[in-house]
Amino acid sequence: MPLALAVAAVPALCAVAQEAAGPERAAMRVAAFFWHDAPNDEAAFTGIERGLRAAGFECIWTVRRAGSDRERARQQLLEIAAARPRILFTLGTQATLLAKEHVKDVPIVFTAVTHPVESGVAESWQSAGGNVCGNSNWIGSEKVIDAFRLAVPRLRHLGMIRSTASGEVSAAELRQMRRYLAEPTAPRIELVERVVERAADLPAAANDLRARGVEAVWVPIDHLVYQNIQVLLDAVRGSGVPLVSSAQRGAEAGAAVGVLVDYALLGERAAAMARLLLLGKATPAALPVGTMQSSHVVVNLAAAKACAYDLPLAALVVADRILDHVEDPPR
């Protein structure tokens, strides 16, 4: 029996190796620009690289990371523009906005932009406009709320903490969530918002939300907030009020449940969009902003236990990933 399996597996493995190589194409220069070091962006970049390889492109990469420094970002983008790569991939909202400002003659394919229209990255979901196209990691509020309710069935008051410093995305998330919860078919959940200016304000905000009687605290896609998610976890430790997150690594670092997209797959989809541009089959303006059909629910048993919260068995069953430890927070 093992021998038969091995014999049957050899042709399949050979085919996979050949297919992964894809059709041979000439080497070309492409660039990637990061505003900051975010795990979401890194995962998406991995997907881009894989997608381009699958499409048969040999790439000479120019990768620049601004480290959240606006002046450095400007210089790096001017440098990229001067190098005239075939495609510029931008990771995240801020990186795309800066690239739109400084790079006019190179097609820009963005990815991991949660709210491209509201943030000004795209003119509309049908067309980003100009030399820009790309896809979004946006997940509908309905899916987010469904995941949260799966983890906290008695959810009636949802606390939400965002920052003024890096809260453009989270502000858009909040607006979208408010719109959804205002719909008549939406579940009756009151959203209680707290805005902080710095990480030191997070415990007070969490305690305030607990005092308001929220059943869960939402950690949105807010760089300052999810970077300090363990501060929040300490604030709600043993209280029976879990953290829930829509950020990539929120659930890994402290939230009991997280809902997110597969950023690597998102990157692959961005690579597929770039292929069309590179092959001349489409222009950026002709491409609609791509979105994901699938989303992942991640539950973290250790984080839930730290909050003295018992996740329902249903949440564990439907979870795409079940974690049993809390990782270090993303940096």
Binding site: E19, D262, A319
Partner: protein
């Protein structure tokens, strides 16, 4: 002593009685525990354990069913979810990059499936571990609940047994205590109380206490010993009482004798004092009388000469101017003779007569003599004479005494008053008392009131000789000459009473000499 100690040891003592009682009660209690409490406990435990075992079996069955049901649902959900996720992932997979190359497309799909499968295996492992942990927690919780139920059941059984047993044991204990109390009361308290009351009675001096020793225990021996002691005390007390009564009688007799002797001594002393006083007075009067008699005799001769000469001149003198001084001289001479006559009677009193007299008659005559004067002074008179008052003596002299006393009484009541005269017989004496409510006599004058020439009032030129202080002195000498005595009782402002006592004349005409 040794014999009594031996007797005490040989008796069935109080300690033995109480020990026997306690032993009997302990046996009864043991029998009660063995026959009543122990079977009841067994029945209660049996009745309580059965539902607990039934509940345990139900819980086990429920847990087993729950695990099975949960496992089935979980499996179904897992398969559905995996299918949905795979479908969505395939939808998101950018297959167009493979430009219709089915082999590469299949490889890409397989790669996704592999990743999905790897993730699902990992998930199932963690899910199973979590379900195991939850099942363990649930079983632990069920066991804890059953343990709690068992504990509550055991507690309920224990409480029930405790209540019922305590109730029964309480009843037994109460009965035991009552029995013990009665026994202690009869064996200890009652006899001790009797002894205590007897001791208190003895302490109060009552030795007629009745003690009834019962049995031969320590208390009974104590009662007997105490009764013996009381008996000894009783005998001792009787002896003491007898001696005390004899001593009291001796004391009473002694006191009576002393009182009698004292009275006799006092009477003798009073007699001596009276005799001394009378003697002093008699001697004083005798000496005064001797002197006055000599003087009066000489003076009477001179006054008689003056009176004779004056009467001779008056017999011949007709001229009024010359008769007036002569008449004054004659009246003065007559008065002087009267005074000297009294002095002579005082100095040489005539022996009392031997006539039998009725002092009552004398009192009536004297009262009749002074009544006119009494009416003029506004003095009321009263005379009380009790029967016959026979005396022997000189009727004129005694009449003079009574008139003198009545006259003095009227003089003591110049503004009116009451004059009371009484006469009565008192033993061997006849007594006459003259009482006035006049000015009275000062205490300092009482001892000298019967002295010659002592007077509480002065005389004047119109009545020479009056108030010369001879009336009472003469009266005293007359009464004394009749074997009697005279007394005065007076107080200044409250009147005076003069009492005259004379030997009464016996039926045979004899008088008894005063002592």
């Amino acid at each position: 002593m040794r014999a009594s100690a031996s007797a005490a040891q040989s008796g069935f003592g109080l300690t033995n009685k109480l020990a026997l009682l306690v032993l009997a009660i302990a046996l009864a209690l043991g029998a009660f525990l063995a026959l009543v409490v122990a079977p009841r406990t067994a029945r209660a435990v049996e009745a309580g354990t059965e539902p607990l075992l039934r509940r345990s079996a139900e819980a086990l069955e429920s847990s087993t069913l729950e695990v099975g049901r949960t496992g089935t649902e979980t499996l179904r959900t897992l398969i559905e979810r995996t299918t949905a996720v795979r479908r969505a992932m395939l939808a998101d997979l950018p297959l167009d990059v493979y430009e219709g190359d089915s082999a590469r497309i299949g490889a890409a799909i397989e790669q996704q499936d592999t990743a999905l499968g790897r993730r699902m295996i990992e998930n199932v492992g963690r899910l199973a571990a979590e379900m195991d942990a939850r099942a363990a927690r649930r079983i632990e919780s069920e066991v804890a609940a059953l343990a709690e139920q068992q504990r509550q059941l055991a507690g309920a059984i224990a409480d029930d047994l405790q209540r019922s047993s305590l109730f029964l044991l309480g009843g037994v204990a109460v009965a035991f205590l009552l029995l013990l109390a009665v026994a202690v009361h009869w064996l200890v308290v009652r006899p001790v109380r009797e002894v205590t009351q007897a001791v208190a009675g003895v302490a109060e001096g009552r030795l007629d206490v009745a003690l009834r020793p019962r049995g031969d225990d320590e208390i009974a021996r104590l009662v007997r010993a105490f009764a013996g002691m009381v008996e000894q005390l009783r005998a001792t007390r009787a002896e003491v009482e007898s001696k005390r009564a004899a001593l009291a009688r001796l004391n009473a007799e002694l006191e009576t004798e002393v009182a009698r002797k004292t009275a006799e001594l006092q009477q003798a002393l009073d007699g001596l004092r009276g005799a001394q006083k009378d003697l002093v007075l008699a001697e004083r009067m005798a000496s005064v009388g001797t002197l006055a008699g000599g003087i009066a005799h000489e003076f009477n001769n001179l006054a008689g000469g003056i009176l004779g000469c004056a009467r001779e001149v008056l017999a011949v003198e007709t001229e009024a101017r010359r008769r007036e001084p002569l008449e004054v001289i004659a009246r003065a001479a007559e008065r002087a003779i009267d005074v000297t006559d009294k002095l002579l009677r005082f100095a040489r009193p005539s022996p009392p007569g031997t006539s039998a007299l009725d002092l009552g008659t004398l009192l009536r005559e004297a009262m009749a003599l002074v009544e006119p004067q009494a009416r003029r002074q506004g003095v009321a008179t009263r005379l009380e004479v009790a029967g016959e008052l026979p005396v022997r003596g000189d009727g004129g002299a005694l009449h003079q005494v009574l008139v003198n006393l009545l006259g003095n009484a009227l003089q003591a009541m110049p503004g009116g008053g009451e004059l009371a005269v009484r006469g009565w017989r008192e033993g061997d004496e006849v007594v006459a008392a003259v009482r006035d409510d006049g000015v009275g006599i000062a205490a300092a004058d009482l001892d000298r009131i019967f002295d010659p020439f002592f007077s509480t009032r002065g005389g004047d030129a119109a009545t020479p000789g009056r108030g010369a202080g001879l009336g009472l002195a003469v009266s005293y000498r007359i009464v004394q000459a009749h074997g009697g005595r005279m007394q005065v009782d007076s107080r200044r402002g409250a009147g005076s009473t003069f009492t005259m006592r004379l030997p009464a004349l016996a039926a045979g005409g004899e008088t008894k000499e005063a002592t």
